[in-house]
Subunit: 138 residues, 2 copies
C-alpha cells in the first residue's frame, strides 16, 4: 500500500498519460515509429480517425515536444517521442501474448534479429514480473 | 513503410488498446499492481474518478479476463492482468525521464534492488531503441 507515496495522480505513469492518454495518441506514435509516417495524409490513410482529432493530436505532440513539424509540414519524432518506443513494444508484446499474435515482430534493423522488452535487474539478470514491486524514490 | 502488413488497426498494440485504451484503465491497473488495491473503495480513494466510470472499467477488466472478482467482492489481477506490468513500467520510465522523476522506483521485492524495462536481443544484448524496427511475422 503506497497511498502516502503518491499525491493522487502525481506519479510518472499518470503524467505520461496526460500526454498520451488515449488510444489514438498511442496509435499515431506507433505509426510514426514503425511505419515511418510523417504526414497528416499518411496517418489518415492507416488510422480510421476523424480529421479534427488527428490534427489535435499531432499539434499536441508538437506542443509536448514529442514531434517537430518541419517547414514542409512533415512531423518528425524527437528524441522524447522516440523514447516512447518501449511503451508501444510492451503493449504490442502483451497483445501478441494475450489477445493473439499480431502481423509484425520487432527486430534490430541492421541484423534483423528479434528484440524484446525485458525486465532486468542491476546485474542484468532477467526478473520475473511477479517479483517486481515499488519503493519510494531515494 | 508497412502499410500492407497491417489491416488497418489489426496489430497487437491496437488490440491491446481496445481493452485498456484510455487513461483511467491504465491507472486502475497501476493501482492494482503496485498499490495492492483490490476493492472498489480502494480505487475510489486514490483515483479522482467518477464512480460509474470506475464500475464500468472494473467490470470490463473482469469481462476481458484481466481481473477476477471474488465472492467477497475483491478484484484480483489474473496472470493476463499482471502481464500488463511491463507496459506500466515502460510508461512510468518514460515519464520519469521526460516529464520528471516520479515518487517511486521499481524494485525486485525480495532484494529491493532496482528493476528496469530494457530492450534486449536474442543473445541478451542491450539494444538501443533507435535500432529497433519491425518485420512481418514469420
Amino acid at each position: 500500500m503506497l497511498g502516502h507515496l503518491y499525491d493522487k495522480q502525481d506519479c510518472s505513469a499518470a503524467r505520461a498519460l496526460e500526454i498520451v492518454g488515449e488510444r489514438w495518441s498511442l496509435l499515431i506514435l506507433r505509426d510514426a515509429m514503425f511505419r515511418g509516417h510523417t504526414r497528416y495524409s499518411d496517418f489518415m490513410k492507416t488510422l480510421e480517425i476523424a480529421p479534427n482529432i488527428l490534427s489535435k493530436r499531432l499539434s499536441g505532440f508538437v506542443a509536448a515536444g514529442l514531434m517537430v513539424q518541419g517547414e514542409d509540414g512533415a512531423y518528425q519524432l524527437t528524441e522524447k517521442g522516440l523514447a516512447f518506443k518501449p511503451v508501444i513494444m510492451a503493449l504490442t508484446a502483451w497483445g501478441d501474448q494475450w489477445v493473439g499474435p499480431g502481423p509484425v515482430e520487432f527486430i534490430t534493423k541492421d541484423t534483423r534479429a528479434p528484440v524484446r522488452v525485458e525486465l532486468r535487474g542491476d546485474a542484468g539478470e532477467v526478473t520475473d514480473l511477479a517479483r517486481v514491486g515499488v519503493k519510494p524514490r531515494d
